[in-house]
Symmetry: C2
Subunit: 254 residues, 2 copies
DNA sequence: CGTAGTAAAAATCATACTATAAACTACCGG
DNA sequence: CCGGTAGTTTATAGTATGATTTTTACTACG
């Protein structure tokens, strides 16, 4: 496994990313021992301080568990906090498990329509403005650019914010990861086959503007469904190849 | 603020809990500086290693952000990963923000009926057995005991597992925290006013057994709604008083 | 069968030194 | 005289290393 952390990152981050990606990619299986001290043959050389702090960071995400005398081991998958932004980023960094992404879309389908519904009911004028501004940026930027990705994320993020439920808003990270995943796919297929589903975005916006909760929810459900189907369709056209660099670039936005 | 960490915990955990609870309780406001070195007047005395590892752990949850030269500060609330099990535990440890719990119930209402629906469609016989066993334990144990809490959590957890979506399952922690919160309330009011909503649990189980997804979803929605209303009703009967000890005991289950 | 001893690994402590980026200063050109 | 820019300072996080303590699974002994 090639160490994907760039050398400009702090040593702590290099070590953390490296171990995390080994775990998320399945390179280190659940139950496997994580070395007590920094492994000289692991692609990095760090002191024990850095290494231990990295392990604490990973244990905070549920990826590893330390027990005295037994050692530090990779935790079972059920303990991983899959909704954590870092975990999603790491999961996205390697070879992507298609089923997992499908699960994320499924979760979005449960959550985002409700977020749109609440946003329609609870939004302030300022929040509506922000959603509209993001939509405008989506309309006016060329597809595939970083600008439109940022706009898309801002659009969905603003809707979460307008829903007025901070706990709900934490699921924003799921939207981010699915969006980055679909971008990664689209780069590998015929661009003409794909179009940003602007119409869906527009009518969700209108429903929120009109404070029509049910309609906002319905349209958002369609939007997420369309996004999933587009992504699945893109999968069929995917040719194998190295897409790492593009994803790395996108990741730096966050 | 009294340090709620028991002295039998590891020093690392005491420090982590102490700082985290200060943040979650609002004692340390967003943007506030977190001391560079362990604060002698903070209720604990630890070396810098332990203290730094605690800070890394907290930064993994999004609670704090370190920047060279500027210092380490409490992150804005929007960066907190409110769905993280630790965060929910810390949020529950202090004085509870009623609105926040209401938000958690709202999220449950979006997620859990769908989990029940999927569970009805995808469950294996073994998974159904586990749900049924948990239900039986709920029926056969006296109310208010730890046994019934464990059974209730196992019931909801089994349904999440049966839904076959690991990302969805991560939201189990939300169920745990709302359940513990409602238990905490119920201890402070007239016990005769409350009854475990067994009927709701039973018909959800039956729907899952019959693989009737829509019905399972509908009944689960009722269950969550009932739970919320019971909890809100209990709030009205709450007399002020120290409930910390009981919660501490419950927390140890996890 | 239980009990005391052993050791492996995490946890803790203490003390260095380094790198970074924000703030400040001094210089230079307009 | 003003404004900006390049260099310097410095506070703080980050990194490094070695030693000690605590916990606990395992083992050997009574």
């Amino acid at each position: 496994m090639i160490n994907t952390a760039s050398s400009s990152d702090s040593l702590f981050r290099q070590v953390t990313d490296s171990i995390a990606i080994s775990i998320l990619s399945g390179d280190l299986e659940a139950g496997a021992l994580v070395p007590t001290e920094p492994d000289p043959g692991a692609g990095f050389s760090a002191s024990r301080s850095v290494y231990r702090e990295a392990l604490k960071y990973l244990s905070a995400k549920g990826l590893i568990e330390a027990r005295q005398r037994s050692g530090t081991r990779v935790a079972p998958r059920s303990a991983w906090n899959l909704l954590d932004p870092d975990i999603l980023r790491w999961a996205l960094a390697g070879k992507i498990d298609e089923d997992f992404v499908r699960n994320l879309y499924e979760l979005r389908l449960f959550v985002e329509p409700n977020a749109a519904r609440l946003a329609a009911l609870r939004r302030t004028p300022e929040q509506l403005t922000r959603i509209g501004a993001a939509l405008t940026r989506m309309e006016q930027n060329p597809p595939y650019g970083d600008a439109i990705i940022e706009a898309d994320l801002d659009y969905h993020g603003s809707i979460f914010d307008a829903a007025g439920n901070p706990a709900l808003t934490c699921l924003k990270s799921v939207v981010i990861s699915t969006l980055l995943w679909s971008m990664r796919l689209q780069r590998n297929k015929d661009p003409s086959l794909f179009s940003v589903p602007l119409a869906d975005h527009q009518r969700v916006y209108r429903a929120i503007a009109q404070q029509n909760g049910e309609q906002a929810g319905t349209y958002m459900a369609t939007l997420v469904n369309d996004a999933l189907h587009d992504a699945i369709a893109a999968l069929r056209h995917t040719r194998s190849g190295d897409t790492t660099k593009h994803i790395e670039k996108i990741n730096q936005i966050y």
